[in-house]
Amino acid sequence: MLDRFRFVPARLLQSVPVVFGVTLLVFFMVHLLPGNPALTILGQSATPERVAALNTQLGLDEPLWDQYFLFLERLLSGDLGTSLTYQAPVSGLVLDAIPITLSLLAFALVLSLVISVPLAALAASAPGRLPDMVVRVFTLLGQGMPQFWVGIMLILLLGVKARAFPVGGYGMTAAEHPYYLFLPALTMAIAMCPTTIRSLRASTINVLGSDYVGTARSKGAAGISLFRGHVLRNAAIPTVSIIGVNLGYLVGGSLVIEKVFAIPGLGSLMINAIFTRDFPTIQAVALFVALFVIVVGILTDVVYTAIDPRVDLSSKERA
């Protein structure tokens, strides 16, 4: 049974060169940004001499390759550098922000499933009928609306008008977090739902027409028990990969959404760092996002293997 998960260590090993490539890209792209951190830090009082002095102090006048190797060297020892803006270790800043962003993503994923599964089931149960049409219009709208706009609309309607939810922030206590994260998570879920619903609807229609669902019906299964017992897991198989890919996009989306909802997660950290040309912080966040996408990719395959006993990625990799 566990044999089928033997591909995981190999996959982790494969991601090492990928991560290395990411460091290369991230480092040089950051340094391609126009502007200069010293200039940002000094602001109005910048004179060419002071800028030069600060550049030397920050090590920014070294050749770019030397800076890169220094960055790599520190990275390997777990040191992400010091934030130019906050004058604090980047690792601390990032570690504070990661749980916030991860819980936002997890919340969004759960919400998107809670919305998608029943809607897809409803649509698939009577293709071409009214519920199906309504769901299809909904997915079309969902795909057409930009995320930040949905966020702002939700703030306006549910936050400002209805006063049902806070308009921004993260809350103070653990109990408050889900309440504060609901609107941003919903925004991201709405962005994720259309593709999930479409995929799940199509595969559910497929599965409902399959022979084994006929067999299940011949055993007296119907309605929810048929759906839970025979349809959902089979229909989920193609959708899992789509959700995996979507999650990768979602991290990108979360950067904007966090800004819209003033959530102190990785997104806010990243955007502020970009504005202030805080190189070490940008590098650290970008690196984390890359790692996240890699891990989600592996997790997708793990889930895929777990729900479909026919999948054996391990043997394919040996061949």
């Binding site: 027409g209 399959s210 022979d211 084994y212 006929g214 067999t215 299940a216 019906r217 011949s218 055993k219 007296g220 299964a221 119907a222 028990s225 017992g229 025979h230 897991r233 089979n234 198989i237 729900i307 479909d308 006993p309 026919r310």
Partner: protein, 345 residues
């Protein structure tokens, strides 16, 4: 019931109604209701199956034999539906009863075995669990008890090492084993009526015979009635006592298997027999039936077989011949049935 332990002995079967057949199909028409005239794929099919009787329905692809079976089981694929007629099980009207009540019959009273053991099993569910599903739902067994029953059923269908195999997924088993799983699943609640839709077509010939023997034994042991749909006359000969031959949505001939094989009274039946190899008489020439069956939406006026028939007369294309008694216990839908008096074997 009999000496053999089945799951059903624990459950209360409905008592058998007296004086009525176990299954009565009366003037059943199946088809698609479209905007204009409904397309009738199965037309006015009638037959009875008595307790313990084994009935074979033979016909080529598209003759409506599988749809007839699915209509009985309530498993017609959309948008196909029953257009008219009645299906009665043990005196109760299956088509008129509430869906929930009908589903309650599926398993403990009526069970179905499908053609493709490759696709008819849920690929992501352990086969033991798939067998246990029916007994859990209908016999009220616990997960544990139903699991044990599943293993017991697998042993009964001749699956070696059933306890281990119960934990396997369908793709890990051979076609023959999968069909045995299907059979174990179908008989797990001890049904009185077993509907088989070409259960051996997808199997190797050697495995076919094993599966047929198994079905036969299970039915004999428990007195289960069988409706067996196939295109293979030899299979009917091995398994069934009664035969109905379907052509273009109609039953064209019915009677006891032995009598029908000996002296078919419909030209189509005769054609089927003559186009199949007979190993007892290897020197006999095979005679194919010329032409193709008519399209459902475009059936000819009169006898649907007339365009391909060697006995055709002018009146054949004017009216549809009714299914009428041509000899004691023998029905045929042919105006020229009397001319088919030749004994084949």
């Amino acid at each position: 019931m009999s000496t053999v332990q089945t799951g059903a002995t624990a459950s209360g079967h409905q008592p058998l109604a007296t004086g009525v057949p176990l299954l009565r199909v009366h003037d059943l028409s199946v088809g698609v209701r479209s905007t204009g005239r409904p397309v009738r794929i199965v037309e006015d099919v009638s037959f009875d199956v008595d307790p313990g009787q084994r009935m074979g329905i033979v016909g080529e692809s598209g003759s409506g034999k599988s749809l007839t079976l699915r209509a009985i089981a309530g498993l017609l694929p959309k948008p196909v539906e029953v257009l008219s007629g009645a299906v009665e099980y043990n005196g109760a009207d299956l088509l008129g009863m509430p869906a929930k009540k009908r589903r309650a019959l599926m398993g403990p009273e009526i069970a179905m075995i499908f053609q493709e053991p490759m696709t008819a099993l849920n690929p992501v569910m352990r086969v033991g669990d798939q067998i246990a599903e029916g007994p859990r739902r209908h016999l009220g067994l616990s997960a544990k008890a139903a699991g044990d029953l599943a293993v017991q059923m697998m042993a009964r269908t001749g699956i070696p090492d059933p306890a281990r195999r119960a934990r396997a997924y369908p793709h890990e088993l051979s076609g023959g084993l999968r069909q045995r799983i299907m059979i174990a699943m179908a008989v797990s609640c001890g049904p009185r009526l077993l509907l088989c839709d070409e259960p051996t077509t997808a199997l190797d010939v050697t495995v076919q015979l094993q599966v047929l023997r198994l079905l036969e034994r299970l039915c004999e042991d428990t007195g289960t009635s069988l409706v067996f749909v196939t295109h293979d006359l030899a299979v009917v000969n091995q398994t069934c006592s009664e035969l109905a031959v379907m052509y273009a949505g109609h039953i064209v001939e019915s009677g006891r298997v032995k009598d029908t094989f000996r002296q078919p009274r419909h030209p189509y039946t005769r054609g089927l027999l003559e186009s199949a190899p007979d190993f007892d008489r290897p020197d006999r020439a095979l005679v194919p039936i010329p032409g193709f069956p008519p399209n459902v939406s475009d059936r000819p006026a009169g006898c649907p077989f007339a365009p391909r028939c060697g006995y055709v007369r002018a009146h054949c294309t004017e009216a549809v011949p009714p299914l009428a008694e041509v000899a004691p216990g023998r029905l045929a839908a042919c105006f020229e049935s009397d001319r088919l008096d030749e004994v084949l074997a």
